[in-house]
Symmetry: C2
């Protein structure tokens, strides 16, 4: 858990120190607004160094806030005021390291500022996504972070999202987005990570690179698959359909596909898994065939899950900055709050993925 001061530093919020002027009740933004005969939102902007605020006003308010010991720590204030603000987080599932890292990133910034998070899991279903959006709105959340469910994406539904915008509730896509929909978002460049993984294998002299693909139609599977295909094309390597087999992301789902790959008359010399789980399953099959990793077969996963450096051999993987999705999305949300409607544009942040090379793909 970060301290409030660290978060202030991260987000350009001024630090407020306790002074000797502490009274019984903590000073609120409203008290400061009364003193300056301005609106609480002006005070909030001044304290956040907002660029539209008059320089003198900013300085005066900040100095006064410091003098009276104004603390922006809403969690402790909330204990006295008995209220805090709620935010909604809608994700397709919470079973992987990715989602928990993302939610951890949101928590790390927003909880110390007094927000509580309402986490909703859609299991990739459009109908549940709609219901959760509706319930969050009726519970008056102050913002919604949404990772679009596959069903919603495939069906092209977005009326429920237009409803959020109409209600002037900030909506921010996290990780999974609707390309054409006008709202801010933070995503990761999976295509690039997959491309880099395959390029590393090709440059290491691997000729028959298999891909344990994710389920068809899922954006995340297709992006990684495109990176694989495009890189093979770049290096004029043939695309062999026998070397592309589907899995469902789970470790056990790669056993039969990998066995099939090594039953081929011309088996692969490298395997690119759609995630680390699938790559770990493949490694077991390879070992049981008496083949060596990476000498006979190189293996690369995706996600850079915490154990990937520790298993044997350590697993080359593509790191996705999941936690940073959460912190960047929080920043976008805070920007919304500090901007007036007409001045705030849609921001699109694409975070890079990064190939982390370990033993499983080296050439000895």
């Amino acid at each position: 858990m970060q301290t409030f001061e660290k978060i202030c530093n991260n987000f350009g919020v001024i630090k407020n120190h306790k002074t000797e002027m502490n009274s019984q009740r903590p000073v609120t933004i409203k008290d400061i607004a009364k003193k300056f005969k301005c609106s609480p939102s002006t005070v909030s902007r001044a304290l956040n160094d907002h660029h539209l605020i008059n320089e003198d006003t900013r300085k005066n308010i900040q100095e006064y806030a410091q003098k009276v010991g104004y603390q922006r720590n809403l969690v402790s204030l909330s204990l006295l005021n008995k209220k805090t603000a709620s935010l909604g987080v809608i994700v397709p599932n919470i079973s992987s390291y990715q989602e928990s890292a993302m939610i951890d990133g949101l928590h790390s910034v927003l909880q110390p500022l007094g927000y509580t998070l309402n986490i909703c899991v859609t299991n990739e279903q459009y109908i549940l996504e709609t219901e959760y959006v509706e319930k969050l709105l009726s519970n008056r959340v102050e913002g919604i972070f949404l990772s679009v469910s596959q069903e919603t994406y495939d069906a092209g539904h977005y009326e429920h999202l237009e409803n959020v915008i109409k209600r002037k509730v900030p909506l921010i896509f996290i990780d999974r987005e609707y390309e054409g929909f006008e709202t801010s978002r933070v995503t990761i460049d999976d295509y690039f990570g997959a491309f880099a993984a395959i390029e590393h294998l090709v440059l290491g002299g691997r000729k028959r690179i298999a891909h344990l693909k994710g389920p068809n139609g899922l954006t995340v599977s297709e992006q990684r698959f495109r990176g694989y295909i495009d890189c093979l094309k770049k290096y004029n390597l043939p695309i062999d359909e026998d070397l592309i087999i589907n899995t469902n992301f789970r470790v056990e789902s790669s056993i039969v596909p990998t066995t099939r790959l090594f039953d081929l008359p011309n088996p692969p010399d490298a395997i690119f898994g759609v995630n680390d789980q699938v790559a770990i399953g493949a490694m077991k099959v390879i070992r049981e065939r008496g083949l060596q990793i990476p000498k006979d077969v190189a293996v690369i996963g995706f996600d850079n899950s915490p154990i990937s450096p520790y298993i044997f051999p350590s697993l080359t993987s593509v790191a996705r900055p999941g936690r940073r999705i959460g912190t960047e999305a929080s920043r976008l949300f805070l920007n919304y709050l500090n901007a007036s409607e007409d001045e705030f544009g849609v921001e699109r942040i694409v975070l890079p993925s990064e190939l982390i090379i370990r033993e499983s793909s080296l050439n000895f």
Copy 2:
């Protein structure tokens, strides 16, 4: 995702088949109540085979429901009625396989019945637990599943929980509980699993068994630690403080402790990790020392995470039925709904943990 029929079977709800009598609008419980001139709750009880319902009434209502094609699938009904019921789930974190399995268990039973889940993460903080409880109540959830945060537990606070009971909202502890507090719960016997793990090592001839312990004070750490200690005592093995070192559950937190263990003049011949992550970290250190697993050092983890059978060597671990906590807790909640206030007692379900023996602890 289970089908509705499977869930009905699991929970003794009658199966309802579509018949030719389907009209435009799906038949609701209210329609059936009107037909029988009884209350909707009587219909609900009849459909749930409640023991307080008159046998003839039950039979008549069930037959009629089947005839008119009554479907208890509230999710699809909700699309027409534009409302579903909400439940709250409060957990200390969602970063481990355990929590996601538990939540998956709740989803699997409750979502098909028309419930949406509001998931709240306390990060082990009492103050956040209180806020979440309050918000859930003010959002009128129909029940709360709570895994008590460590801070709440340590401080002995439970006024916020009494408030839930006072409001007559069903409260069910999941995984972590307050022993003395009168409400239903589903927990896992961690002590037994730890004891079984150590016994397996002792009977395999291991004499110096180290424990990579979880953080002090956490119930889950202490239960596993007690199992370790009590089993050593049972077999009259000395308890050596040098062999007990703390970790923080993360894979990287076991590296320094394990290194220290193998720098001892008399290093261990077995390691019992507080979870699989910690055990996997220890395995890396053991390998790098040129020692063999399990020949020189046996290793056992805890949680039976999905990859534990696939890593090399495959990891012996204690399985905790996390998903079953969710399904059993759902059943307790549904029991609440079907019982009147005075007839329903507190139910305590303790699920067994189970040692799964794999390569890392065998004697060759």
